[in-house]
């Protein structure tokens, strides 16, 4: 299921502005990779290049390669729509479709491209996806109610269920807990621990304790100053990054001396 991602000399631009410079990173399958760093250092921008969501912004473009199991996602005959089916994403703020029921939200991705699915298959998929997102027991009696009626933490887990329903190889999470209370955050973190059995997970977080709790590897992004591009300063096992990082900047950041 899970796949490995390599980026080579990845430069990310918004128009003429280089937001992220020369990122070389390897993301291991079936593991959790956390990206940390101060605001504006390009970690979310980097994350969005992994499923080609970056180019949705007018003028945004990418140089270098992002290879998934050796295939360049930015190759000439790669369809961004296909990439996004393969690489799921969970956003900072929970965003279930407000006009759809909980059930339809889970099935939203499956029903794209006019794909037909029998009712029993759909029922099974809804149940397994919601189980996978640890939400089934809370919503099984109200699958036909709108998803926007759930609490923030439940909505975020609904979004995770929606993302895993299309069986992606990789799951990207862009600060998935920053809009949630501590209890909901724990629920999501537990879920991340379970999901990594099956998926490659990349998570951007501002919460260093969270990075330390959930991730196997951690990458530290930093920015030299306003208007300068963000860079990947260091990447290593999470334990190493938080105990004995190689770079001074990393140590300053994780020990709370700046950022």
């Amino acid at each position: 299921m899970a796949q490995r991602i390599d980026t080579k000399d990845l430069n990310i631009y918004y128009g003429d502005f280089r937001a992220v410079e020369d990122v070389n990173m390897t993301i291991e399958p079936k593991s959790v990779t956390a990206l940390i760093g101060p605001s504006g250092c390009g970690k979310s921008t980097f994350l969005r290049t992994l499923n080609r969501m970056h180019e949705v912004v007018p003028g945004a473009r990418v140089e270098g390669t992002v290879e998934m199991e050796g295939v360049d996602l930015y190759g000439p005959d790669v369809d961004p729509v296909a990439v996004r089916k393969n690489v799921g994403m969970v956003f900072q703020r929970p965003n279930p479709f407000p006009t759809m029921s909980i059930r339809d939200n889970v099935l939203a991705g499956v029903k794209l491209n006019n794909k037909r699915i029998s009712k029993s298959d759909a029922d099974d998929l809804v149940e397994s996806s919601l189980h996978g997102a640890n939400l089934w027991n809370e919503v099984k009696d109200r699958l036909d109610r709108p998803g926007s009626g759930l609490s923030g933490g439940q909505q975020q887990r609904l979004c995770i269920a929606r993302a895993i329903a299309i069986k992606p190889q990789v799951l990207l999470m862009d600060e998935p807990c920053s809009a949630l209370d501590p209890i909901s955050t724990i629920a999501i973190e537990d879920l991340i621990g379970e999901l990594k059995q099956e998926y490659t997970i990349v998570i951007v977080t501002h919460n260093m304790q969270q990075a330390a709790r959930v991730s196997d590897r951690t990458g530290f992004f930093n920015i030299a100053g306003t208007g300068k591009p963000g860079r990947l300063i260091e990447m290593d096992d999470t334990a190493t990054i938080f105990s004995s990082p190689a770079e001074k900047a990393t140590e300053d950041y994780v020990s709370g001396r700046f950022g």
Binding site: V81, N86, A108, N113, G149
Partner: protein
């Protein structure tokens, strides 16, 4: 209820300005309440006027009506007399709406989601410009330009697809039929529907569009899963605005349509239909006494139709409120 607590003022100057602020506050409050009340008062006044002035016609016997109203047929009750007018009015408005809504939504989606930024601005301004054209101009244009242009097409429809209920009967050689009126009305209501729909589509939260994109949606699928459901109630409201204008449109209909008083669906034929608004405008100059009352009764019918349309639209929007995205 009216008392507001303001923070303690530090100097006399501050206090004075605080007092004026509070004064403005009160004045503004009364302006707002007054404006709100005016709407209700005007609506009530119009309804009262319509009912009281229509009353003589409503209570009159068919004989009295036949004697007092020009071209009133014998042995016809007021309801039977107004029936075809109501039918014609609704038919014209529905035709216009059916033609205009899909096109308006297409234009609105193109402007909001497909066109490059510069082009979409130009297009948006052009659409707004369409709305500024007076209806009498549309009437002239419909009469002199559109009707002759459309006539061959109507003839073709009649000859080849005449089995379809709307396209049967005798085609008007001049094009002064309900079908042409429907097209002109559609063009007239296009700008308002487009402008409102465009605004609604632009309001779609980026979050929802990105949610769809991240699931592997194509551009059309983003529109289908995120934009259209979100804009649904707005499009319904926009359509109702357009429908309101189509129902009440007088000048263009008066100038184009060759009138008649039947219930036929043959929209290509001349001399079959008439709308309430055009009927009132056409007959008002030569009406007196009971004739005026009859015209006002027709106006009352139009008032009731628009009211019913608006309430239905509100009901449709409210029915799925939980799913509207407003919570």
């Amino acid at each position: 209820m009216t008392t507001t607590v303001s923070p303690p003022a530090k100097s006399s100057r501050r206090r004075r300005s605080g007092n004026t602020d509070r004064g403005f506050n009160r004045v503004f409050r009364w302006i707002a309440v007054g404006a709100g009340a005016t709407i209700l008062a005007v609506l009530a006044a119009v309804a009262l006027f319509l009912i009281s002035e229509a009353w003589p016609a409503i209570t009159a016997s068919p004989e009295e009506l036949a004697a007092g109203v020009p071209r009133y047929p014998e042995d016809t009750s007021l309801l039977a007399y107004l029936g075809p007018l109501v039918f014609g009015t609704v038919l014209a408005a529905v035709l216009a709406l059916v033609l205009a809504v899909p096109v308006a939504m297409g234009i609105a989606l193109f402007i909001s989601h497909y066109a490059p930024r510069r082009l979409s601005q130009v297009l948006g301004a052009l659409v707004d410009l369409l709305a500024a054209i007076p209806s009498v101009i549309y009437g002239l244009w419909g009469f002199f330009v559109l009707a002759p242009v459309l006539t061959p097409f109507w003839t073709w429809l009649n000859e080849n697809l005449g089995w379809f209920p709307l396209w049967g009967g005798q085609v008007s050689p001049t094009g002064r039929s309900m079908a042409t009126v429907g097209v002109v009305l559609a063009i007239m209501i296009l700008p308002i529907i487009t402008a409102v729909s465009r605004e609604v589509f632009l309001q779609t939260p980026k979050l929802h569009e990105e949610a769809a994109l991240a699931l592997g949606a194509t551009r059309w699928e983003v529109i289908r899963t995120a934009v259209l459901p979100f804009g649904r109630s707005g499009v319904i409201s926009a359509s109702m605005l357009g429908l309101g204008r189509a129902l009440g449109e007088t000048m263009a209909v008066l100038m184009i349509l060759s009138p008649g008083f039947t219930y036929t669906l043959d929209i290509l034929a001349a001399g079959q239909h008439q709308t309430i608004a055009a009927y009132i405008a056409a007959d008002f100059p030569e009406s007196t006494g009971l004739g005026v009352n009859t015209l006002i009764a027709a106006g009352l019918a139009l008032f009731v139709i628009t009211l019913a349309v608006n309430m239905t639209a509100r009901w449709v929007v409210a029915r799925r409120k939980d799913f509207s995205g407003a919570n």
